[in-house]
C-alpha cells in the first residue's frame, strides 16, 4: 500500500477543503430547501454577450489567443478601467486576461511571494486568499476586521500587522461576505501606512460595480503612489453575470504583470477564447443591463436588511457586493449551530460567518442573488425559526 500522506505535497495535504461542504450536502437531500447560500448572480448573462460568444464559435474563433489575451479585449479593459477609475494601464503590457478573478489572485500572490514572506489578509473575507498564500510558500497574517468598524481594515490594524517580512496586503473590497466597502478616506489612511514601504497590494475589486454608496466605488489605485505597488484584480463574473465563462483580469505595473504572465503562460496558456470574444461585447454594450441588475440587487438588499432587522437579527447595511451579514449573537449559539438548526428545522440554507475566518463567529452570510419572492419566503421561515427556537 502506498502511503499517500507521506508522498503528497504537505502544504496541499494540510489545506482544508471548504468546511461547509457537508452542510450543503445535507441541503441537497431536501427537496423544499430554500437557499440564501449561493454566491453567484441569478441573472442570465445578457443575451447580446451570449450572442457574441455564439458568433465567435460560428466564425471558428476557437484557437488559442495570445498568452495575455486578445488585444481588443485588453484595450477594452484598459478603456473601461480608465472610464470607471480614471487610472491608466497600457493594454500591451499592463493588462493580463485570466481564468476568472481567482487565477489573477493566485498569479499575483505567486508572482510576489518568496518562501516565508508574510501576506496580510483581512477577514472575514473570501476563502481563497489564505490557501493560495500558503501554496505559494507564504505565511498568512490575518487581520480580523470588526463589526464596529463596519468590517473595514483600519490603518492601526494594518500598522500592527506589518513586520519586516510583510510582502503583500490583500484588499478585498467590496467584501464578500460582509458587504463592507472602503471609501476614499479609508483608502487614504491605508495608503499613508503603505507609502514608503515595499509592500504590494492585491486589490480584489471583483464586486466594484456593485457598490451602493452615493460616491460609488473607490480603488486604492486612484490614490497617490499606490498604482505602482498595486495589482488590481477584477473580472466579468459578478458584474455581467458571467460566472461560468471563467474570465477575469489583472492590471498592474509592467514589472509585476510580466511575471504573472509567465505563471499564466505555463499553467493556463490563455483564457477561454469564446469567453474573451463575449467579454468584448460585455464591455462595449452592457452599461444599461448592468445598471438594471444593480438596481434590482439594491431593492433586494434593502428588502433583506430591513427584514433581518425586523425579525431581530441585527444587520448592518452592506454597501457593496451581494451579501448581507447579519449578527446571530442574540440567539446565544454559534454560527455553525445556528445554520445547522436552521437548515434542519426550516430547510433554509445560509452560510456560517466562520466559513470566512474566525472573525465571522456570531454572523451568517445571506446572499441576495435571489428573487424578492424567494427572499420573502426565506425571511418568513427564519422568523418562525427564531420564534420557536429562541423565544
Amino acid at each position: 500500500m502506498m502511503d499517500y500522506s507521506r508522498i503528497l505535497n504537505q502544504t496541499v495535504l494540510q489545506t482544508q477543503p471548504s468546511g461547509i461542504r457537508k452542510f450543503f450536502d445535507i441541503a441537497a437531500t431536501m427537496d423544499d430547501v430554500i437557499s440564501l447560500g449561493v454566491g453567484e448572480p441569478d441573472f442570465q448573462t445578457p443575451w447580446t454577450v451570449r450572442k457574441a460568444g455564439i458568433l465567435a464559435l460560428e466564425r471558428g474563433k476557437t484557437k488559442y489567443t495570445s498568452n495575455r489575451g486578445l488585444n481588443t479585449l485588453r484595450e477594452e479593459i484598459a478603456g473601461y478601467v480608465r472610464r470607471k477609475l480614471a487610472v491608466d494601464y497600457a493594454p500591451e503590457t499592463e493588462v493580463l486576461i485570466t481564468v476568472g478573478g481567482s487565477e489573477a489572485i493566485d498569479a499575483a500572490i505567486r508572482a510576489v511571494v518568496n518562501a516565508g514572506d508574510e501576506v496580510i489578509i483581512p477577514q472575514p473575507s473570501y476563502v481563497c486568499y489564505e490557501p493560495v498564500t500558503k501554496l505559494a510558500g507564504g505565511v498568512p497574517v490575518i487581520i480580523e476586521t470588526k463589526a464596529e468598524d463596519n468590517f473595514k481594515v483600519t490603518a492601526d490594524e494594518l500598522r500592527a500587522a506589518i513586520t519586516p517580512k510583510t510582502k503583500a496586503l490583500i484588499l478585498p473590497y467590496p467584501c464578500n461576505p460582509t458587504g463592507a466597502v472602503m471609501e476614499r478616506g479609508d483608502l487614504e489612511a491605508i495608503a499613508a501606512v503603505l507609502r514608503g514601504t515595499d509592500i504590494i497590494v492585491v486589490s480584489d475589486e471583483i464586486y466594484s460595480e456593485l457598490t451602493f454608496t452615493k460616491a460609488g466605488h473607490s480603488s486604492i489605485t486612484q490614490i497617490d503612489g499606490m498604482r505602482e505597488r498595486t495589482v488590481l484584480v477584477s473580472g466579468f463574473s459578478k458584474t455581467f453575470s458571467m460566472t461560468g465563462w471563467r474570465l477575469g483580469y489583472a492590471c498592474g505595473p509592467e514589472e509585476i504583470i510580466s511575471q504573472m504572465t509567465k505563471i499564466h503562460q505555463f499553467a493556463i496558456m490563455c483564457a477561454p477564447t469564446t469567453s474573451q470574444y463575449a467579454a468584448v461585447e460585455a464591455l462595449r454594450s452592457c452599461d444599461e443591463a448592468v445598471e438594471n441588475m444593480k438596481a434590482e440587487y439594491d431593492r433586494r438588499r434593502r428588502l433583506m436588511v430591513a427584514g433581518f432587522n425586523r425579525i431581530g437579527l441585527a444587520c448592518r447595511e452592506p454597501l457593496g457586493a451581494f451579501y448581507t451579514f447579519p449578527s446571530i449573537k442574540s440567539s446565544g449559539v454559534s454560527s455553525d449551530e445556528f445554520c445547522e438548526r436552521l437548515l434542519e428545522k426550516e430547510h433554509v440554507a445560509v452560510v456560517p460567518g466562520t466559513a470566512f475566518g474566525k472573525g465571522g463567529e456570531g454572523f451568517i452570510r445571506a446572499s441576495y442573488c435571489y428573487s424578492a419572492e424567494h427572499i420573502i419566503e426565506a425571511l418568513n421561515r427564519i422568523e418562525r425559526f427564531l420564534r420557536e427556537e429562541f423565544p
Binding site: S18, S35, G37, V38, R299, R302, L303, A306, A372
Partner: protein, 160 residues
C-alpha cells in the same frame, strides 16, 4: 418613486406595502399614499391573477381577431372600439399600425362560442369591413410569466 413602485406592482401585485417600502427605501405611509393616488388617477387599473387557462379543468379558449374598420369622420376609431370593448367576452382591444386596424382578444368556453361571437357581434358592426380570427393553440408566456415548468435553480452551493 412612482415609476419604481409601478414596476414592482406590475411584477407582483401581492407585495405587501411593507415589502414595497423596504425595496424602495421609502416609508410605508408614502407607499400607501402613492398606491391610492395611482389607483385614483386610473394609472393602476386593476389587480388580477395570471392564469394558465390550459391547465384548469374547463379551459377557456381565446382568439385574436384582426378587424378592419372604416373610421368615422369625427370620431375616428373611438366609437367602434368602445362598442367592441363593452362586450364581456372581449379581453383587450388595441388600435394597430400596419395591415389592419383593431386587434381584439376574445375569450370563450369553446371554439364555437368564440366563432359565433365574432360572426354575430363583431362582423355585424356597421363600420367593420372584415374580420380574421386566429385561435390560440397553446400559451407559452402570459403577462411576463413563462408557463413552462420552471427551470430548477442549478447553481451549486459551493462556497463562493
Amino acid at each position: 418613486m412612482k415609476n419604481e413602485l409601478l414596476k414592482l406592482l406590475a411584477r407582483n401585485a401581492r407585495y405587501s406595502v411593507r415589502q414595497l417600502a423596504d425595496m424602495l427605501g421609502a416609508d410605508e405611509a408614502a407607499v400607501e399614499k402613492s398606491i391610492k393616488e395611482l389607483e385614483k388617477e386610473g394609472v393602476i387599473c386593476g389587480y388580477k391573477a395570471v392564469v394558465d387557462w390550459d391547465s384548469v379543468e374547463s379551459p377557456l379558449v381565446s382568439a385574436i381577431i384582426e378587424i378592419k374598420v372604416v373610421p368615422k369622420a369625427d370620431l375616428g376609431f373611438e366609437e367602434v372600439a368602445e362598442k367592441i370593448a363593452a362586450f364581456e367576452a372581449v379581453e383587450s382591444v388595441y388600435l394597430m399600425s400596419g395591415g389592419y386596424d383593431l386587434n381584439v382578444v376574445v375569450k370563450g368556453k369553446t371554439l364555437q362560442d368564440v366563432a359565433q361571437f365574432v360572426a354575430r357581434e363583431l362582423a355585424t358592426i356597421d363600420s367593420v369591413t372584415s374580420t380574421a380570427t386566429h385561435f390560440v393553440m397553446r400559451r407559452y408566456k402570459e403577462l411576463d410569466v413563462c408557463l413552462f415548468e420552471s427551470e430548477k435553480d442549478d447553481r451549486g452551493n459551493y462556497l463562493i
